[in-house]
Symmetry: C2
Subunit: 331 residues, 2 copies
């Protein structure tokens, strides 16, 4: 068992009380230069650094934020995690990454995060209906929660999202201008899909343009494979004359899988036979072999908004931020 030096030991070595040692490590504390020097010297010799755990126990602040994630198939999670951890760290916070899966569900995770005394919980791209936790449990005693990159389904839990209405308006406008008139939409996991609101807005904007028939394809997960499977199923059954002329997929990874299937296994051309649109602006979508038209979420602004709420600079309320359309060759 490794043994760390404590403030008391440094105090003895420096010939002061342990509180003076604490002061030497507290910015702005009242302490003479001389004492501070002696303390820091002794601390250096003993290799002392403050125990943040003990500090957290005393201050009731861990500077830890739990980040819940349940979908690792979407490569777009990675740049988000990068931005999130970087900004958290810049604020003196640290991310505890919690994998929500069959063995460790939201309730488990939330209870655990609470027991670990995290300062806040970010539901990143995930949310849950509160069926197991009582309102009392959720309201009192639980750390403040925030939903990032999807709608919140819990009263009082704010969400930070990309403006889906604006996004889909831009997308549908673009597709309409390009002359497409037989739109299709591919959803991912049903539980997540509605909360993203992409499908509904897609349908509504097309209706606003007088196009009432929107084909819905559904993949069961958000992965390239699921996207490919979904479109294969559709193309196998459909009469080519009745085929959609543009397919919007709920996110890029579905779209990339769909494109591979459309071209590779059915020999159709994109966008001539079917145009494809994604969502997220994942780096590889821009590759020349895809050229996927997509929509970029305002990642940095979204992350900053959540952190602002956590730090108390911003009101904890649902925020909707505008992203931007990225047009490439797939439309």
């Amino acid at each position: 068992m490794r043994k760390r030096a404590t403030a008391k030991e440094v105090a003895d070595a420096a010939g002061v009380s342990k509180w003076t040692v604490i002061r030497a490590f507290t910015p702005g504390a009242s302490i003479t230069e001389e004492s501070k020097r002696r303390v820091l010297e002794a601390a250096a010799v003993l290799n002392y650094t403050p125990n943040l755990l003990a500090r957290s126990l005393a201050t009731n602040l861990t500077h830890q934020v739990a980040v819940f994630v349940d979908d690792f198939a979407n490569p777009q999670k990675l740049p988000f995690l990068e931005t999130l951890t970087e900004r958290l760290q810049a604020e003196g916070l640290v991310a505890v990454l919690i994998n929500i899966n069959n063995h460790f569900d939201h309730v488990h995770a939330l209870l655990n995060a609470d027991q670990r005394q995290v300062d806040a919980v970010i539901l990143f791209g995930t949310a849950f209906r509160n069926e197991t936790l009582s309102d009392r449990q959720l309201g009192r005693g639980m750390p403040p929660m925030f939903v990032l990159a999807r709608d919140s389904q819990i009263d009082g839990v704010p969400a930070v999202v990309c403006d889906a209405e604006l996004a889909l308006r831009d997308i549908v406008d673009h597709l309409y201008e390009r002359g497409y008139r037989r739109p299709g939409f591919m959803t991912g996991a049903p539980a997540l899909s509605t909360a993203l609101r992409r499908r509904q807005h897609f349908i509504d904007f097309w209706k606003g343009k007088g196009v009432d028939e929107i084909v819905i394809l559904s993949a069961d997960r958000y992965s390239a494979e699921a996207g490919a499977g979904s479109v294969r199923h559709y193309l196998n059954d459909i009469d080519p004359a009745a085929r959609v002329d543009v397919l919007m997929c709920e996110n890029d990874i579905l779209a990339l899988g769909a494109m591979d299937e459309i071209r590779g296994n059915f020999g159709l051309r994109i966008p001539d036979d079917i145009a494809v649109v994604g969502f997220d602006n994942y780096e590889l979508g821009g590759a020349s072999c895809y050229g996927l038209t997509t929509y970029e979420q305002p990642r940095i602004e979204m992350v900053q908004a959540v952190i602002g709420m956590i730090k108390g600079r911003l009101e904890p309320e649902t925020v909707t931020l505008p992203g931007k359309l990225v047009v490439r060759t797939s439309t």
Copy 2:
């Protein structure tokens, strides 16, 4: 400030001492059924759960493992993070994700992780030469460290890696069989590149087959863009007759970028004009528009090995695990 119930409060409510409350929450502690029932009842009413922070302070065990990451461009990090968090959680551990960047370097991160009393540190795909930390600091007082998915550069710090020698032997054998004789190798970030040992083994195995001239391309980072830029630079200058007939890239994301450039901007065919090999078996590499031949790291086994060492089941020593060659159409 939210207020949690404490063991003392539950004790008062249940009419027992706080130690009895603790026992009710300690599996296998000696306590009568009756006491336990009363305690759990009172705990339910007060919504009490043990404070893991206080427990950690008392036991000197946080059940937290810091995971250092410094390259978020490689989508392969995601499945690794998924496996890692899942397995850690299965063992009652939790991952603290630390983003190593210009503002928060290894030394900062290590010092911070140490102060937070994490049980272990995993350097995931990253490592550093110990220039700033004294040996005493590293040896004593620091949490046990492990390097995952690359070589360790610190004495006494074990690494868990995919067997690069075996991997490159398989790859070179495959390429040789296919008839390629003018190999090239693309490295990524220099600091990481040598520690992966892929280039050296690539060169050595070719030499073993009598092929001494190996072209080296270098990308400065591990990203599709960097891969594309590197191969563009090369193809712009080279006489087509002297061109490599196969290009191995240090990882898939470089390879995908390279493939896009080779086909999209230079109009060359893969594998006819240039064959391409990657490393990692990233999902999209298998897409029909790439069909990238690559090598799959034994992700689950690697993660299990690190965790085994952390939990003390395995000797903390460098482990080299075999992966498997995935042949597709790019070769």
